[in-house]
Amino acid sequence: MTLLRAAWLILRKDLQIELRTGEVVVTTALFATLVTVITSLSFYVDERSGQMVAPGVLWVAVAFAGVLAMSRSWTRERENDAFRGLLLSPAPRAAIYVGKTLGTLAFLGVVEAVLVLEVAVLFNLDLTKILLPLVGLLVLGTIGFAATGNLFAAMGVRTRARDMVLAVALFPVIAPALLCGVVATRELLGGAPAHEIWQWAQILLAFDVAFATTGVLLFEPLVCD
């Protein structure tokens, strides 16, 4: 069985369960909405303040919602020890990591679509002209975040302090990518030229390649005794 075929089976299973229960997307979208509404009430004064605060709000909401989504997604693997069933199968173990990461990307993609709309409305921003590069930055940032987060989530799947491990250990590692995303979004909203945004995007891309490669290589040794 190829890695891609097995990853697709695991992704399909996650989507099938999510379509049936809706619990990951609904809970994370509600959480992200709450963060956005509270911060807009606290920090939005005028268009200028909105433009300054919105990038941070957007990425903080993505980060917190992402941790929640990954935590919930891996909780499903712990129920009935289903994760062990995946490890027992002949599928390449890295495929579990790839499938779960793609699942997280799909869930966060939906949440981010809602989030961008909310940020635009609540912070009174016209995002139509920068929508494409903004989506590009979000995709790149989310890939790195999901690639790293799923590795930590898998490591914690058999520990009692799993949620703490995910939250405490993940953020220091992912901080450079998050900061990069925030600054790039701020520059984008401030009207920076395309080549500047592209430089930030390249850094995010480098993070993605490094984190995803590390995840694929380390997943099996980390989840097996």
């Binding site: 069985m1 299973k13 049936r20 499903r76 062990r84 199968s89």
Partner: protein, 218 residues
């Protein structure tokens, strides 16, 4: 390529977790067409031995051979191993059919294979096959788990307390299923505290005590 073997042999198996020596040098051999009862008190190393045989963990020292294949270098051997563990290893939000279809595809079988489709009937889950596993009783989950363990016709079948939660008729069905696996040529390793079950099924017994082989009886 289907990996064929008619014997599983472990030599000098040692498994250490931190300061705990779960297995302290175990030599054991299991043959095809036989059911071996693996006995021992809690903490004697039975689950650790099963975990090593299932290739879920690597031994600290020692080796396991599946016929001519060295377990360390042949991850594809996982396709020839079936495991029934304490936990059901199924997704509660998927139905029995969906859980079995997923497992079948992960083992390289077609989800609509007649053998796979027939498993729910064979294990008495026919009327429940399209309900989420979350709604199953402990016994139904155990039967689904057994169906999952045998769906790819494993050459090595590892059963950890298979009769847990089963009523009398389900135990009878379990006995028949395990005997069928033996007749098919599987190597069956049975861990159970249910003496009546092992008396009915086992061709031989081995006992673990504090991580060592205490006894081997035909």
């Amino acid at each position: 390529m289907k990996l064929e073997f008619d014997r599983v042999q472990a030599h000098g198996l040692v498994k250490v977790f931190g300061a705990t020596r779960a297995l302290a040098g175990v030599d054991v051999s299991f043959a095809a067409h036989s059911i071996t009862a693996l006995e021992g008190h809690n903490g004697s190393g039975k689950s650790t031995l099963l975990s090593l045989l299932a290739l879920l963990a690597r031994p600290t020292r020692g080796e396991i051979r599946f016929g001519q294949y060295d377990a360390r270098n042949t991850p594809a051997l996982r396709s020839r191993i079936g495991v029934l563990a304490h936990s059901a290893m199924v997704y509660p939000d998927l139905t029995a059919h969906e859980n079995l279809a997923l497992a079948a595809e992960l083992y390289g079988l077609a989800a609509n294979d007649s053998h796979v489709l027939g498993l729910t009937e064979r294990f008495g889950l026919g009327g429940w096959a399209n309900r989420p596993a979350r709604t199953y009783s402990r016994g139904q989950l155990q039967r689904l788990s057994l169906a999952r363990a045998v769906l790819h016709r494993p050459q090595l079948l590892l059963l950890d307390e298979p009769s847990t939660g089963l009523d009398v008729s389900s135990v009878e069905r379990l006995v028949v299923a395990i005997q069928e696996e033996r007749e098919r040529g599987a190597i069956v390793v049975l861990v159970t505290h249910d003496r009546s079950l092992s008396d009915r099924l086992a061709d031989s017994r081995i006992e673990l005590r504090q991580g060592r082989l205490a006894e081997a009886k035909a």
